[in-house]
Amino acid sequence: MSSGPSGEPLLAVHDLCLERGGRELFRDLSFEVRPGHLVQVDGPNGAGKTSLLRILAGLSRYGFEGRVERHSLLLYLGHQSAVKALLTPRENLAWHVAGESAYGDTEIEDALNKVGLYGYEDVPSHALSAGQHRRVNLARLYLSRSALWLLDEPFTAIDKGGVAELEKLLVEHVQRGGAVVMTSHQPLRVAYQVTMLSLTDGLPA
């Protein structure tokens, strides 16, 4: 078990500048994310948090300046849950388009169990609520073997108990040597050092 960030960077960002609609969102942003980093991106609405995560993930490929180096597999959760209504939660995870890894049947059951969807494995997803869709998506975190997680507002539409579970999972992940970059409007209540990433100043040294 490691405590605190160390080791080779999983993600390195060099001199990132982004302008949208004639307004500069950030400029000369450089930082590195290493194993053990639990990074929360800080900033008000419209500050460019989602844009930053999409650039880090590689979904945004132009319209910005600077360089992003990725040194590991990554898992990105965006605003949309990517859950198909016509498939069951089990099928949604087994045939997930992210192609991150092939999951076994019991692994998937475990993960669905952990996000509180025990008994819903084989129910068509259109019978589930919006919050349950989010939870199917969050089950990917329990299955993930990627070191780097990029999470855009993961707590949206999740109840209090779910948030606490998720916070625990994030800490476990970084303690195992993973790293998390996430956006959230509520402060994380975890017994781990959360690094705040400011879009104007980058990571604290």
Binding site: G58, L59, L73, S81, A82, L86
Partner: protein
């Protein structure tokens, strides 16, 4: 990390995608049935518009059948990536470590299996309805099998470029119909030649060549189009 991070092999991933797409299609059987129904209904329009004289219909049959096949393919092409774009699956697909070229082929393959293949298999029924001579039916099925695969691939380019647009429906026809024309020319020529008793194989061979070219190049354009649409 506890387990070494390793993504599944491309082949296994593509098979999973294919299975996913086919399951999705099978759970909405009406969407598989719609193009076939469309085909049947447009076939019924021609005797009403051209008159029911059997010999007259037979003369136009190869062209009629091919034009309808092309239109029904056009109508379904738009939907290939639409729902995945709307629920966020598409951006997850773009992030997959496997080559997008192959994933795109899996999507198009599933589309062809649920549209072009079925259309080719039921086309003899419609051919009989508009008096296509019996000796041309083999050529019709073969040309539709090859030709609709090209149409699915080319249609995928239009679908990828317009998937992010709210009013993409009409636009996609304008974009890809010109690219459909060579397939129409050689597809209907194959059937026409079979009707006349001359060999249809050369035309089928040209369709096969078009298919090879489309398999090699269209996924590149589709992949580029998807990246642009997700990033727009």
């Amino acid at each position: 990390m506890s387990a070494p991070a390793e993504a599944p092999a491309t082949g296994a991933f593509c098979l999973a995608l294919l299975r996913r797409q086919l399951t999705l299609a099978a759970r909405r059987p009406i969407e598989i049935g719609n193009p076939l129904l469309f085909f049947a209904m447009v076939v019924a329009l021609f005797p009403l518009g051209l008159g029911p004289a059997p010999d007259k219909l037979a003369g136009f049959a190869p062209g009629i059948l091919w034009i309808i096949a092309l239109l029904s393919n056009l109508l379904t092409s738009e939907t290939v990536f639409r729902s995945d774009f709307e629920d966020g699956s598409l951006e997850q697909l773009l992030l997959a470590p496997q080559p997008l070229f192959m994933s795109v082929l899996a999507y198009i393959g599933a589309h062809w299996l649920t549209t072009g293949l079925l259309l080719a298999l039921v086309s003899p029924v419609f051919a009989l309805m508009i008096n296509l001579p019996g000796q041309a039916i083999g050529a019709l099925v073969a040309s539709l099998l090859l030709g609709t695969a090209v149409l699915s691939l080319v249609g995928g380019i239009g679908a990828a470029l317009t998937v992010g647009l709210k009013r993409g429906g009409m636009l996609i026809s304008l974009l890809i119909l010109p690219f459909y024309m060579p397939v129409l020319i050689f597809g209907s020529a194959a059937v026409q030649n079979a009707v006349l008793g001359t060999p249809a194989v050369p035309y089928l061979a040209i369709l096969g060549a078009m298919l090879c070219l489309a398999i090699a190049l269209a996924p590149l354009a589709i992949a580029a189009g998807l990246r642009i649409s997700v990033d727009a």
